[in-house]
Amino acid sequence: MVVGLEVHTELKTTTKMFCGCANEFGSEANTNVCPVCLGLPGSLPVLNVRAVDLAMAIGFALHSTIASSTFHRKNYFYPDMPKDFQISQYDLPINSGGHLDLPDGSRVSIERAHLEEDTGKSTHLGGTGRIHGADRSLIDYNRSGVPLVEIVSGPDIRSSAQARAYASELRGILIATGASDGRMEEGSMRIDANVSVRRPGDPLGTRCEIKNLNSLRSLQRAIDYEALRQVELIEGGATVRQETRHWDESLGETSTMRTKEEAEDYRYFREPDLVDLVPDVTWQERIRGELGPMPAARRAALLARLTDPTSAQLDALEVVVDLGFDDIVLAAIDAGVEPSLALARAANELASGIDDIANLTTDAFIVTLTMEQGGELSATQAKTVLLEILAHGGDPRGVARAKGFEQLSSDSLGETVAALITEHPDEWARYREGDEKLAQFFIGQVMKLTKGQANGKAVIAELQRRR
């Protein structure tokens, strides 16, 4: 199969592309609209500089060439487009060329990444037939005019898995540049897949476009289905017709949308209400300078701190970078926390409390893990402290005290161990002779007696002391 992907991402700006209305998901319908984004007669667009900054950041992250660009009108009628044309970029886009390297080492070329405005949203009311009326659509223009960057890959992708990896890596990059929040489920990132099939060595086959895939899973499933559909068509002696298809997640199939007799003629011409965009060297360098490390670099930075990582640790590493926790993990490692411990706590506890991550300072993370590492907190206790801070704020020592995670004083631990040794002489004898497994037995007993308050490492230390 041969796949090319077109990814549309909404930009994380405060306001829309050409007007000062809020760029906000989830507002009540038609409350973030004005003459400009409603396309009222007499309205005019004025370009949002932050949208340009973010578009350039994406260009740098994808190794594109940033050039002077113009805006064009793409003319067609559709009710979710207030002007019945879309302001986009055509033959002179802001970013052209570039590439994206995937974790498996493969490289996908980028043809272009350009700016354009989003459309409104329509919801369709099913009708029961004209006689009963109300076979209508309802349009909300809140999304109309939201800034978009469209990223077009070359037809370099050769499997659905690679497509998924591309989309995932691109999403990570878009989040890392600050351009997008990557929330596919909210529609802030949408993917169209162009799929064709051919025998190896043959020229490119006819492609079909599958529009508006909004999860990585549907992307992969849709591509697999479509490739198979085309293969079966060809092997059955038919030809693939170039068309746009729609993926139905529940039915698990693509279906054709109503085909028109002729392709749309968009009559592109330069947008006369906007002037050319000529980002000078100073502007470009400022954007490039503000760019942080991309996911690939961040994964590498963490990897460098691990010795002989297990596959579980590698998985945790990916999660940590994906969620943006690599900075906090690196800080913890720098402060002396075991890399595997920092990774594990970040990939699990921090991940589960990600919505409240602002409540946890880097310092709190480091202190909690240092306490765990030093034996002041058990693993269970440390996890509880982290989750508590995420939910309600606070500092590690304060939270530990409030929860009664008093460190068992070494005296009382010593007494407890001594008592257990007396009660279990056979087990103690075997341990003294070198049967390390029995350490776990004694730890278990201590835990029972102290209701989980004891620190495993402290118990081992005590046992060894008495050996």
Partner: protein, 100 residues
Amino acid sequence: MTSPLRREDVAKVAKLARLSLSEAELDEFTAQLGQVLEHANDIAALDLEGVVPTAHPFGLINVVREDVRRASLARDDVLAMAPDARDGRFAVPRIMGEAP
């Protein structure tokens, strides 16, 4: 001189522009538009290789605004203009076919 424009071209263009014409109008417009285009053929015939099309006559570039909020319209005012509004949204007859 015959019109450079054929009836079918005019019919196609009318559809693109969401206009429906009667047979009489189709004939009339084909003739009239043909006349204008004959003059336009003077332009089509010119050799303007190397001439750069004009963007803004005084070369304005980089006109942008800061990413700051401005007041939006009140929803009531927005929907008051609508030929058919339901549920806070603009209502239209069913849409056949997805967006291009």
